[in-house]
């Protein structure tokens, strides 16, 4: 059964990059995103991320996870946003824009709460952070085989114990998804479905999935531990020798990315571009 959130070999620009340039590109974008709050700049990064996602042929259905994640976090952001009703918090955008009140409600005990434009932009920025983060992460997962991470870590002389733990963790995630998919299908065939909006009842209905999954994970981990011991894992210290090949295209991607990030950071630090 094919699973979600797993590398898939494709012939795309991103797939064909060396792990060094691919990671440089994606991590640089994630780095920039973490500093930006202005939705205009984030929208540009969103467009670039979406283009990368599309060109790498990452399955669209992976993005379904955004619905619960954004839905859940949006409430939290709106609550925090309503706490930021002081326009002085927003020093980059013109005061008359950020101080505009979008809505105001009276709550018992708390009193009047309002959402100003500055806070709304902040909320929008937070949502964009999540969406871009998910797009880039999925692009990375879909375009990067586990070998690439390991080779890179070895090149960076990361201790093999850490490399192993990372490898097992990366192997573990798709395996767990596979287990989860099988369990879900098995229970659906017994009539299982979440047909309630009551969160307590819904949580109870998740037990038929969670209990077998927990049991399977424990068994899997136990077997993994035995298997690694049988391969003398942890017996001594080991050193690896790894070579990573870079093409002209890889160097170009790295150079363009680093130049773009440097320019963006310059404008961010010196001219506050990207902040609210």
């Amino acid at each position: 059964m094919p699973t979600w959130y797993e590398y898939s070999p494709e012939d795309t620009f991103l797939h064909n990059l060396s792990p060094v340039s691919r990671l440089t590109l994606i991590f640089s974008m994630l780095f920039l995103v973490s500093f930006y709050y202005d939705p205009r700049y984030l929208t540009v990064l969103l467009a670039i991320s979406a283009a990368m996602y599309h060109s790498a042929k990452v399955p669209k259905k992976w993005l379904l996870i955004l619905i619960p994640v954004v839905g859940w976090r949006l409430g939290e952001f709106l609550l925090v946003g309503m706490g930021q009703y002081n326009p002085e918090l927003f020093r980059v955008w013109p005061r008359e824009i950020v101080s505009r009140v979008i809505f105001e409600v009276h709550l018992p005990v708390i009193g009047d709460v309002r959402m100003i434009m500055g806070a709304l932009l902040w909320v929008l920025g937070q949502v964009l952070h999540i969406v871009i983060g998910v797009l880039l992460t999925f692009t990375l997962i879909y375009t990067t085989p586990l070998n690439d991470y390991v080779r890179l870590m070895r090149k960076l002389r990361v201790p093999p114990q850490i490399t192993y733990v990372m490898t097992v963790a990366l192997k573990f995630v798709p395996d767990i998804f596979r287990m989860y998919q099988s369990i879900q299908v098995a229970q659906r065939l017994r009539g299982w479905a979440i047909r309630t909006k009551n969160p307590i009842k819904a949580a109870k209905l998740a037990l038929p999935l969670m209990i077998p999954l927990a049991r399977e994970i424990i068994r899997y981990v136990d077997r993994l531990e035995i298997s690694s011991q049988l391969r003398a894992f942890g017996a001594t210290t080991v050193r690896y020798q790894v070579e990573l090949k870079m093409t002209k295209k890889d160097y170009a991607v790295c150079v363009v990315t680093l130049v773009a990030v440097t320019i963006a950071m310059y404008f961010l630090i010196m001219h506050k571009k990207g902040l609210l």
Partner: protein, 579 residues
């Protein structure tokens, strides 16, 4: 010279009163190939874990007695210290392969042992060559077949240069080609590289294992019943009595011995062919040819079911990754049949089943999947599951409740049946499967066979008229497999149609009315077991083997044996003892 010496070994798991191994004593000499035979729960895995030191270093247990492997006592050495003396390969290759290329994975053990680079290279080369994986060094393990993945697990252990290679049911999860790849590799390791091998087996692959071992240790309920030449395990039907079963050729000769008391009982196909040839040539026995090719069938007439229940036409299915799993399947399944679907892993068996129960929708618009007159492609899962349902091979993927009653009642509750109907349905199904006395038993306390039965009950309670069961006997010994298959046959009388997906050709020949052979996403053969298993050439092309007794008859076809012989009794019917 003994390389493994076990004396008076008693192992008791913590929080268990009964020991898993009781006063076990035996020796294994260098270069031997030992079969560790016994039913489920006999103590085989416990013994292997103790030999490598997993017990008690990783799995705590009270251990009494002496164990010496290659001069080391595993109780006094860590597992990492033992791996150069004894390597262990477990049944599931997917758990044992950690790394991302074949060569990295094979090098993993030697690197952990801190071997110098040139030695690592030499050992990787040796292990890849010995397991016939040379040329696949750069491949991702996922790109390998099941058999090659298990061969890779063996290579990973072998690269640490152990004196003894222990294998815990290494072929139980593999398809026929996988089994053959692994067994060939292990056999070569023993014969050409002189590695001492121990292979644990509980019955489903007994015939293959008996073909290659030169000594056996038979375990039951934690005790050694017998050890020595493999023939001692089949004499007096010992293996059959403890639930492991007998190779068909041994069974044949044991029955023949009733007329020829001095007859030697073979344990392997080759030996049986040789012995029968000898007796036929010297005239001790004669062949009584059957009339016509089909001859006297074992089930007369073959049950081929009632009216059409499932109709599949021009079914294609392509995974989102682009892998074509089904390439135009056309098929009709009839009421009241027990159908066996066989084929290599990846031949499309499970995908076809998922399309029939509506989990997957065909990827071509003109495909038709009609179940009981309903178009599955346009129906919801809940409409379909009472018409046709599917059970995964691992019952643990669905069991979650506290006790059996609660577990089985989950389905009816989900379909919002009232309490009284639920109770009646659950009690009926438990009674029918003969597990009503376990109604209030905790799921965690159930042995594998009963967990399989509870898994079956929890779907049967929804009263589907057809049930597709994936590898129903996986993880069961021969006795339990037969018990389960008899239950399925009984259920057919109640109006339920069964389709089983399996790699066990013997069970298919013994219990199924019809066999469908799948290959490359298509139906290659479809007919009665007799019709299908007599097509030796087509089966070979699909990398499948007929049951051992059919292979024996085919090997002796020049003497007049019918190539479509399916059972031991049918074979016996063709023999006439002269003197």
């Amino acid at each position: 010279m003994p390389v493994v010496e076990v004396s008076d070994l008693t192992v008791t798991y913590l929080r268990k009163k009964e020991p898993a191994l009781k006063n076990v004593s035996f020796k294994i000499n260098e270069g031997e190939f030992v079969g560790l035979l016994g039913p489920l729960g006999a103590g085989k895995t416990t013994l292997l874990y103790t030999l490598v030191g997993i017990i008690p270093h990783t799995i705590p247990a009270r251990v009494k007695g002496t164990v010496v492997v290659d001069g080391k006592n595993p109780l006094d050495h860590t597992v990492a210290e033992m791996v150069t003396s004894i390597g262990l390969v477990i049944d599931d290759p997917t758990v044992q392969v950690f790394n991302l290329t074949v060569e990295d994975d094979v090098a993993f053990g030697p690197m952990n042992l801190g071997m110098p680079e040139d030695e690592i290279e030499r050992n990787v080369e040796y292990a890849l060559r010995a397991t016939r994986l040379k040329g696949l060094e750069k491949r991702h393990p996922k790109e390998l077949s099941g058999g090659q993945q298990q061969a890779l697990s063996i290579a990973g252990v072998l690269a640490m240069r152990p004196k003894v290679l222990a294998l815990d049911e290494p072929i139980s999860m593999l398809d026929p080609v996988g089994k053959s790849i692994v067994l060939k590799a292990i056999n070569e390791l023993n014969l050409e590289y002189g590695i001492t091998c121990i292979i644990a087996e509980s019955g489903s692959d007994l015939e293959e294992v008996m073909n290659i071992v030169n000594r056996v240790v038979v375990l039951n309920e934690g005790e050694v019943l017998v050890e020595g030449d493999p023939k001692v395990a089949v004499e007096d039907r010992l293996l059959e009595r403890i639930g492991v079963g007998l190779p068909q050729v041994s069974e044949l000769f044991l029955k023949l011995r009733e007329k020829l008391p001095d007859l030697d009982v073979p344990v392997s196909l080759e030996e049986a062919i040789e012995l029968l040839r000898e007796y036929l040539n010297e005239g001790t026995i004669k062949v009584r040819p059957r009339e016509g090719k089909g001859g006297k069938p074992s089930r007369n007439p073959p049950r081929m079911g009632g009216s059409d229940y499932v109709r599949v036409s021009n079914l294609h299915y392509t995974y989102p990754s682009g892998v074509k799993a089904l390439n135009g399947v056309n098929l009709t399944l009839r009421e009241g049949e027990l159908v066996g679907i066989i084929g290599q892993n990846g031949s499309g068996k499970t995908t076809l089943s998922f399309c029939i129960v509506g989990i997957y929708k065909p990827t071509n618009p003109d495909a038709e999947v009609i179940v009981d007159g309903v178009d599955v492609t346009k129906s919801s899962t809940f409409e379909i599951i009472r018409k046709v349902n599917y059970i995964f091979q691992n019952p643990d993927a669905m069991l979650f409740s506290k006790d059996v009653y609660e577990e089985v009642s989950f389905g009816p509750k989900m379909l919002e049946y009232d309490e009284e109907t639920t109770k009646r349905l659950v009690e009926d199904v438990l009674k029918f499967l003969g597990i009503e006395e376990h109604k209030h038993t905790l799921i965690v306390d159930l042995p594998k066979y009963l967990r399989t039965m509870v898994g079956l009950a929890s779907v049967l309670v929804l009263k589907p008229r057809m049930l597709i069961v994936d590898e129903p006997t996986n993880g069961l010994d021969r006795k339990e497999s037969i018990r389960l298959m008899r239950h399925l046959r009984e259920l057919i009388k109640e109006g339920i149609t069964f389709v089983i997906i399996t790699h066990d050709m013997r069970l298919v020949s013994e219990f199924c009315d019809r066999v469908i052979v799948m290959s490359n996403g298509q139906v290659l053969l479809d007919g009665t077991p007799r019709e299908v298993f007599s097509r030796h050439e087509v089966l070979r092309r699909a990398s499948l083997k007929p049951p051992q007794i059919t292979q024996l008859a085919a090997a002796l076809r020049d003497f007049g044996f019918a190539e479509d012989t399916l059972t031991v009794n049918e074979f016996l019917d063709q023999l006439e003892v002269v003197g």
